[in-house]
């Protein structure tokens, strides 16, 4: 009887001990890298004017400097159920849900007044770069309709959109040039899309591969970089920035942050699981944008915004 009890106890303990085998990180590691809530749940990044970072939170449009406690709501945008917003440097365009529908407004910042804008289509959303879209097409900034494309799983860069057409076909739509470029050669659905520091140079993420394309060419067989860790649930988030004359790509993966040198014809790994950013390994990253020379603003869903000095290898505390 004693042997049976001992056996059952050991078996139960081994079963309990095996429960953490498949988790991504150790328990104390997760605790030590946990971050407090900032009080703002960020829906998407909107604009960086060099002084302020603008972002859409789930209860209004906000802006902040690098100084902690400096975050403010843009007047007239709080608690409106805003789902998407664009800032042209002077005024805002935003979409809000009203009675299971969507309405588009233009906010003139000089007066603080919002004016409803009527479009022919309904259930429209506004992206951070000014697209007004639904699944059947989109409107350009001047309000004219662009309807020869279906919008599926859209991903936005500064002035473009990547939309999937089937599983492995995609289109890059250039908002400024009004061009549509078909992208072929994807091996799987795109899991990320950003515009590089050079205009009209894009990075498309496909599984563990990164492709570098321009608006006028399709993917080749050879990936620009092909050894990424798997994508986070939301897909890859990335930013390209300069470290002196060197161009680098910082990519958020499911395990942390990967830094790739993009100065050459192919991407070369600089550091996998960038150590000085490891305290953010367990937070949800919404977006990353350049923030001064050699600096990147890391925008998280619930844990605030952090400034990473990629040259000095320092990370600020949450600036919100």
């Amino acid at each position: 009887m004693k042997k049976l009890t001992l056996f059952l106890t050991v078996a139960a303990l081994l079963l309990l001990a095996s429960c953490n085998v498949d988790s991504e990180h150790g328990i104390y590691y997760q605790v030590a890298t946990s971050q407090p809530s900032s009080g703002y749940n960020i829906v998407h990044f909107i604009h960086n004017d060099g002084t302020n970072l603008y972002f859409l939170a789930d209860n209004g449009i906000c802006y902040t400097t690098e100084t902690k406690g400096d975050t403010k709501y843009v007047e007239g945008t709080k608690d409106l159920n805003i789902r998407g917003a664009y800032f042209d440097g002077t005024d805002f365009l935003y979409s809000r849900r009203v009675d299971n529908s969507s309405e588009i407004y233009k906010l003139t910042t000089s007066t603080g007044k919002s004016e409803k804008i009527t479009y022919e289509k309904d259930k429209l959303d506004v992206s951070f770069n000014g697209f007004v879209y639904n699944s059947n097409g989109f409107y350009e900034k001047d309000g004219s309709a662009f309807t020869d494309v279906s919008i599926s799983n859209p991903r936005f860069s500064r002035d473009s959109m990547l939309t999937m057409d089937g599983t492995t076909k995609a289109k890059i739509i250039d908002l400024e040039a009004h061009t549509t470029t078909e992208v072929t050669g994807l091996k799987a659905s795109a899991t990320g899309f950003i515009e590089g520091v050079d205009n009209n140079k894009y990075y498309i993420f496909d599984g563990k591969n990164i492709y570098k394309v321009s608006a006028s060419c399709a993917l080749g067989d050879t990936a620009y970089y092909s050894d990424l860790d798997s994508a986070p649930t939301r897909g890859y988030t990335a930013v390209e920035y300069y470290e002196g004359s060197k161009k680098c790509l910082l990519v958020r993966t499911s395990k942390g942050f990967t830094k790739i040198d993009t100065s050459g014809d192919t991407g070369t790994l600089v550091e996998k699981n960038v150590q000085f950013l490891s305290t953010l390994n367990d937070v949800v990253v919404i977006d990353m944008v350049t923030f001064g020379v050699g600096k990147v603003a890391i925008i998280t869903y619930a844990n605030g915004i952090y400034i990473a000095d990629m040259v000095e290898k320092t990370l600020s505390k949450d600036i919100l």
């Binding site: 303990l13 605790v31 030590a32 407090p36 150590q275």
Partner: protein, 202 residues
């Protein structure tokens, strides 16, 4: 935290004073049930193979808030000043992400009674065993030790109330074959419980 450690040291010094350790009150075979409840201060987290995290101290270092600790124990005296038994406990602390880190230690317990006057006991406890660590749907079975000092005043012949202060530690170990990057995430966690103890002796 410094006051906490000073208190522990003071008690140890008092325990060493020969004037307090004159008579034996207990007999071999006497037993004691103890109920413990109180708060649990985060002390250290040490990441042995991770230079970035390294040794983290206190609330801001460990990203863990002050939590609670409770336990039940049973002991039997094997000599007139030494008792052995077992203890099961439960500790919880919120992380900065407001997710609860819990630990359920199941330990063997050794208690030394250097001072026993019948009205007042000073007890030194040493526990060793295993604990189930839980956080965000992850579990880990870790070795666990606890050291504490426990002055107790007896209100009646059988019932006493005391203050129990000490440190407990466990070690989350991942070998080099662990999946992902966990091999660099082996860590020990150290907490400082400060609790009230209610003792029934028989």
């Amino acid at each position: 935290m410094r006051k906490h450690l000073l208190f522990v040291l003071l008690i140890l010094v008092v325990a060493a004073l020969p004037a307090f350790s004159a008579e034996y009150y207990y007999e071999k075979g006497d037993t004691a049930f103890t109920f413990i409840v109180g708060v649990d201060f985060p002390a250290f987290q040490g990441f042995v193979k991770n230079d970035t995290l390294g040794l983290q101290k206190g609330i801001n270092g460990t990203h863990t808030y002050i939590g609670g600790y409770g336990a039940l124990s049973y002991e039997s005296f094997v000599t007139r000043n030494l008792a052995v038994g077992g203890e099961i406990g439960y500790a919880f602390n919120n992380s900065f992400a407001m997710k609860i880190l819990t630990t359920i230690p199941i330990t063997a317990k050794l208690s030394y009674y250097p001072v026993q006057t019948g009205k007042f006991d000073l007890i030194l406890h040493a526990n060793a065993g295993i604990t189930v660590l839980r956080y965000d749907n992850n579990r880990f079975l870790a070795p666990h030790i606890k050291l504490s000092v426990n002055p107790v005043y007896y209100i009646t012949e059988s019932w006493g109330i005391g203050l129990d202060a000490g440190l407990w530690a466990n070690y989350e170990f991942y070998g080099s074959s662990a999946s992902g990057s966990k091999s660099t995430e082996s860590a020990f966690g150290v907490f400082a419980p400060l609790t009230l103890s209610l003792i029934y002796r028989h």
